[in-house]
């Protein structure tokens, strides 16, 4: 679960804006990119979004005022940027390209065969990525990023019951998917 330790390495007020940004990028860069990837499912795009996130952070550092932890603040910016991207015309078209390219590349093995080759965790993660965004994001934030329901609710501007419902539905959908590909387990 989320703990207070996230703020330890970046004490506000003691660093210049540039230094602070560097610290934030070092501390959260990978995390931002990983979270972005779970939304857009493309490496290059996740990288682009991550850069945008930190540019945005830099411009808003003055307004941050230490109200929340840097971690949740950066998460929120990332989530918003990702959603803007998902809504954009560009994303829809570029995805198409990537989907086709990966489709051509992965032609040699059937999906079933690939899944058997992989460890279960990877198979589950793949299926989580295939969930609709509204379920996917709560699953990722709760299970993978280990945020609390309250934190997720605040980040997504939803109430906690909605988050719980989505987690429940997400798990159900995941279970169906896993059964569909022949992996049974408690999810």
């Amino acid at each position: 679960m989320f703990t207070e330790e996230t703020n330890k390495s970046v004490p506000p007020g003691s660093a210049s804006k540039d230094e602070l940004l560097t610290l934030l990028m070092e501390e959260y860069g990978d995390m931002v990119m990983r979270l972005a990837f779970t939304y857009v499912k493309q490496r290059q795009l996740a990288e682009d979004i991550s850069q945008e996130v930190f540019i945005s952070c830099y411009h808003h550092l003055d307004r941050f005022e230490n109200r929340a932890s840097y971690k949740t603040w950066i998460y929120r910016i990332t989530v918003n940027k990702c959603k803007d991207t998902l809504r954009s015309w560009t994303y829809k078209n570029i995805t198409y390209k990537d989907m086709l390219v990966s489709l051509l590349k992965s032609g040699s093995k059937s999906t079933e065969a690939q899944l058997v080759d992989r460890e279960e965790r990877e198979a589950i993660f793949e299926q989580v990525l295939n969930l609709p965004v509204k379920f996917r994001e709560v699953m990722i934030l709760f299970y993978y990023e280990e945020l609390s329901i309250q934190e997720i609710a605040e980040m997504l501007n939803l109430n906690t019951n909605t988050i719980k419902t989505r987690l429940h539905r997400g798990r159900q959908a995941l279970q169906l998917k896993m059964e569909g590909v022949g992996i049974h387990g408690t999810v």
């Binding site: 990837f37 490496r43 991550s50 850069q51 989907m99 589950i124």
Partner: protein, 353 residues
């Protein structure tokens, strides 16, 4: 919850690192005020490669071009989702073509048509033979460059002379102008009165005044009981324009209307029609639908006889694609729980499913 951990060996995740290069780009962007993404990809909006176009081409041209593996993988992508994306790609290409010729001197552009599977762009112009010939010589290189610059690859571009001569539309006579003006005014007054008396209007009110008829159409919920009052109200409002109005008052099932609105907003019917017609494999020759009365009824007519050996399989295929689309696509999330009845008909008008 061990299984809900990021996998170590994931091909993409393991490569994701916010490295020095990323950090430098962020600082550079902050200093220059220029987004690294925009800088890197000035035309990302249309940055599709020829490969993508070729792949779409392959996917849509039919089974002859598929390797068995390709076909198997392609079969896993819901058809309608792919169709929607192809449409978006097509519109994007159409935009590029239109933008390329818009500001030039060609003033009688009649139509632009783009076929992704055939890799063809067809542009129609009006004018004399010589004029169109001249246009052709300049417009083809122009469009060709624009299409390539935007990474759509190579297309066969054809310019066709549209021989239809359009006569200048004659101006409306003062009499017709008055009809139009009166109709619009009456419509406005009716709406104002209906709103004042709290009538729901599930469909837009229509008023027509011309030398053939005087007609008013009003739709109300079927639960509305104030019918006589409504008739009186309409006659009173229409009085300044005459007494002999035909009143067409329709009672609407609001549940059906709400469903219709949900489907309309997401453009589902439009996608179904377009997608079914686009792919020759479906052998679809006709499409009709009705939201009233409930449940929504969708009829798809095919060119196969219901007694033909392939009829059952074809019907199943169509049914399955439509079901998958309604159940899984992001666009259909608001209509997923709406009941609908799908009837697939053969050439002999007999049901196949």
């Amino acid at each position: 919850m061990e299984q809900f951990k990021y996998p170590n060996q994931h091909p993409d995740l393991s490569e994701l690192h916010f490295d020095e290069k990323n950090k430098n780009q962020v600082f550079e962007a902050i200093q220059t005020g220029e987004s690294p993404v925009q800088k890197k990809k000035p035309k990302q909006k249309l940055a599709l490669t020829g490969l993508a176009a070729a792949a779409i081409f392959l996917l849509f041209i039919g089974s002859a071009y598929f390797s068995p593996t390709m076909a198997k993988v392609a079969a896993k992508i819901p058809y309608f989702s792919l169709f929607i994306q192809q449409e978006e790609y097509k519109y994007a290409l159409q935009d590029v073509v239109f933008e390329a010729i818009r500001d030039k001197k060609y003033n009688d552009l009649r139509n632009i048509e783009v076929s992704i599977p055939k890799r063809e762009i067809t542009i129609w112009f009006g004018g004399t033979k010589t004029e169109v010939k001249e246009i052709e010589e300049s417009v083809i290189p122009l469009v060709n460059t624009a299409v390539k610059e935007n990474n759509f690859g190579t297309y066969k571009i054809e310019v066709i002379r549209d021989k239809t001569a359009y006569n200048k539309v004659p101006e409306d006579s003062p009499e017709v102008e008055k009809y139009i003006k009166d109709s619009a005014e009456l419509e406005k007054s009716i709406i104002a009165q209906l709103e004042k008396h709290h009538y729901d209007m599930p469909f837009p009110v229509q008023a027509r005044i011309n030398d053939i008829e005087k007609y008013i159409y009003v739709a109300i919920p079927k639960t509305e009981t104030r019918i006589a009052e409504l008739e009186d109200l309409l006659r009173t409002v229409a009085k300044p324009y005459g007494d002999d109005f035909k009143l067409d008052i329709r009672k609407i099932d609001m549940a059906a209307r709400e469903q219709e609105t949900r489907w309309e907003e997401a453009g589902i019917i439009h996608i179904l029609v377009g997608g079914l017609m686009e792919n020759e494999e479906f052998k679809v020759t006709g499409f009709s639908y009705s939201f009233h009365p409930l449940p929504l009824q969708i009829k798809v007519k095919t060119s196969v006889k219901s007694t033909h050996s392939s009829a059952k399989e074809l019907a199943e295929k169509i049914e399955q694609e439509i079901e998958t689309f309604i159940e899984t696509d992001e666009l259909t999330k608001n209509v997923r729980n709406d009941p609908y009845e799908l009837i697939i008909l053969g050439k002999d008008k007999k049901q196949m499913n």
